[in-house]
Symmetry: C2
DNA sequence: AGCTAAAAGTGACCTAAATCACTTTTCAAG
DNA sequence: CTTGAAAAGTGATTTAGGTCACTTTTAGCT
């Protein structure tokens, strides 16, 4: 477990510096969790008690529409944060599903603990501020890609941006992430 | 100007509490700017020196594709923040345009000043952290709406969510925001 | 190795929305 | 009040991508 916590510390210290005391205080606010492939981290209608930092593994966050079709909001792997941020923030029942595409391990942070360490250790507030800002920028780019690009060029773009991801994820899920049918995606590329 | 700064202080204090000393320090890091309708706040290729908090007015943030078509990333009005966050964060030339749909006034915050007040006054770090998190959640919902909803239901959704905005903005810009052609939008609703 | 199920590919057909061309309406500026 | 430009509406046509149905390939699992 020490080695895993060290990874998390390194993740924080890529953005902000921490003293050992600060780190000891911070790490005591995380819980460990481990799930097998196909198990759920978050489910629609269930409480969303945590934000999760992924130690290892791969998950998909998605919603299911009236027709039962799955729409992928996010893939998240090692070193990523994932949650149903909306439900988590407002402490409401989950609005999306998050499940494991591979066996995965997480450090879990509750809302109460997050606010506690943010107001106790300013560096943590700055860490999440900067992280959140990066996330915002990424989502803006995804929106622009949905507005401006054809399905095919969104696929090419993703192939360039996250080649590793594509190898770990079935193409039908990539299709769903891109907002395109599996059949159409299969006719691209070549 | 005092009254305008008071509005900004209220905007901060909706999220975090500030002492008068803290506020005086914070406010000294903002600049005032005023633009007429049709003037640019940010242009592609130009430096993006600031993030802007809108005192009054309305702007659109958009990119232009190879065919000269405009794609609207965001509308922003009173009490909103706007910038080319990506270019601003990395201090690179602008990647989008932002221009005024109405005469507008702004408080401008440079990257250097933002980081200064964030690391000097922890409440500010928490303010931006929480704001940024809200922004992230909004963008996630917009992505989900682009993935799961038809153009028509996105329009209805927007009509409900921001009825005020629709009255201030030509429908062809709403169409561009929704990722639909102006002609198609015109055939909805009725 | 053999078997099942999921994933991927492919053809035929369909449809939502884009595009193009033109008309009508609205609005701001002299 | 008039006028020119921008915005909005509308019909005809095209097209990107969806859907359906089926086959082939790949990957887990006893």
């Amino acid at each position: 477990m020490e080695d895993k916590l060290l990874l998390l510390r390194q993740h924080f210290e890529e953005i902000v510096s921490l003293t050992d005391d600060e780190w000891n205080f911070i790490q005591s606010h995380f819980e460990f969790k481990s799930l097998k492939k196909h198990q759920f981290l978050i489910q629609v209608g269930q409480p969303v008690d945590f934000e999760y930092w992924i130690i290892k593994g791969l998950v998909k966050a998605y919603s299911i529409d009236e027709k039962g079709k799955e729409h992928i909001l996010q893939f998240a792997m090692e070193d990523y944060w994932v949650s149903d941020h909306c439900a988590f923030q407002h402490q409401e029942p989950g609005t999306i599903f998050v499940d494991c595409l591979e066996d995965s391990e997480f450090f879990c942070l509750s809302l109460e603990n997050r606010e506690k360490i943010c107001f106790e250790v300013p560096a943590v507030a700055n860490f999440f501020r900067i992280k959140s800002n990066h996330g915002y920028i990424n989502l803006q780019q995804r929106i622009l890609s949905l507005l401006t690009m054809t399905a095919e060029s969104r696929y090419e773009y993703l192939l360039n941006k996250l080649p590793k991801l594509i190898q770990r994820v079935p193409k039908k899920l990539i299709a769903s992430y891109l907002g395109v049918s599996r059949e159409t995606l299969s006719r691209f590329n070549s």
